[in-house]
Symmetry: C2
Subunit: 192 residues, 2 copies
DNA sequence: CCGAAATCCTAGCACTGCTAGACAAGCGAG
DNA sequence: CTCGCTTGTCTAGCAGTGCTAGGATTTCGG
């Protein structure tokens, strides 16, 4: 049995390599450069190997997205835990969110811009995505205000952050004023 | 000279046909289905004709985006003009924006999601885009609040709308609560 | 009416995601 | 240890993509 276990381990290892390589390549040269051929060459296997791990390119993007979601959730929790008071925590949350999106554009694209074939807002939503939303909710819950459903408030706040992230990265918003925009957003949306 | 004029007219007419057909096809079957071959077949010309009007597919997407921006700006102005009072106008603005995005997903994608090769936030930004932003600013200017730069406020509000639009359409947010989200957003962001 | 110029199309390139079928390596059974 | 078989991998290829070179056809000006 040990032989099979080793094989399974190696297979899982290779799968992680595929995802990590795809992410790296996307971050370096953009998702357009992530072709099955280039990806296969980088992991030093032939293309069909990719399809023995994933149904197709979409699923690879989806895997990168899940990794990213877990990472982002951890970053958000770490950033908010270091702050005192709801207002400071929300500010830190927003800054960290936008910072993550700016520093990992390819991963952010995999999560929200590209089609990774992931389910959302259903019971069959993958755990890391649920957890990412939960990380937002934990902090935003405290500033939703009376009579406002925390989940709905989180959705609105998240949408605002998402809009800022995407529009800034696409060159639609000048990046210099990000700090001011965050301050305005937090001051208005979050009730003490 | 009349002959040349007629030719120019026909050329312009054909260009409009290309853009309209691209938009129609994208709205019917998604942008993935808008290939140069299919598009060429629909306008009953060969592919190279497309390239005598546009540098490439990107520019076609850009042309659809510009059309859409003009349309959206008109819709926003019409909707806000019919309302009395700043709060009602902002609400109408937000509703109209999200409604436009929901009803014309392909056009909205061309404007913001896809790369149409358009410049933004510079002096060489095409006029319809500037005008779209101006349409937002006209209404939001009234509710920015004291000491808040109207342009910056508009950017934040716009980002929030954009986030709601994209996340809803991608299935990330349940569509039922759109009205509630808009109400929350307007109530908090807009200062009476 | 005829040469020149503008217009358009056929054919093809390099690339994409994805897959069938050949091939080799490693396994368990005798 | 050897034989058959499963398992894993690769080569080669398909249909489709955006885009373009070069030839054919139409249309214009003299």
């Amino acid at each position: 049995m040990s032989v099979q276990e080793r094989k399974q381990r190696e297979r899982a290892e290779r799968e992680r390599l595929i995802v990590a390589t795809a992410r790296e390549l996307a971050e370096q040269q953009g998702w357009d450069a992530v072709t099955t051929r280039r990806l296969a060459e980088r992991i030093e296997y032939s293309q069909p190997v990719l399809y023995s791990h994933f149904r197709g390119k979409r699923e690879i993007i989806g895997a990168v997205a899940l990794d990213g979601a877990a990472e982002m959730a951890a970053a958000l929790r770490a950033a908010t835990a270091a702050e005192d008071g709801p207002h400071a925590r929300v500010t830190a949350l927003a800054r960290t969110y936008l910072d993550f999106a700016a520093r990992n554009p390819a991963v952010y694209d995999a999560m929200f811009e590209l089609d990774g074939g992931l389910a959302f807002a259903h019971e069959d939503t993958p755990q890391p995505l649920k957890d990412g939303f939960a990380a937002l909710l934990e902090t935003l819950d405290q500033v939703a205000g009376d009579g406002v459903h925390p989940g709905l408030f989180t959705e609105v706040f998240w949408a605002a952050l998402h809009g800022l992230a995407t529009l800034t990265r696409a060159g639609r918003l000048p990046p210099e004023d990000t700090g001011t925009r965050v301050a305005l957003l937090v001051d208005r949306l979050a009730v003490a």
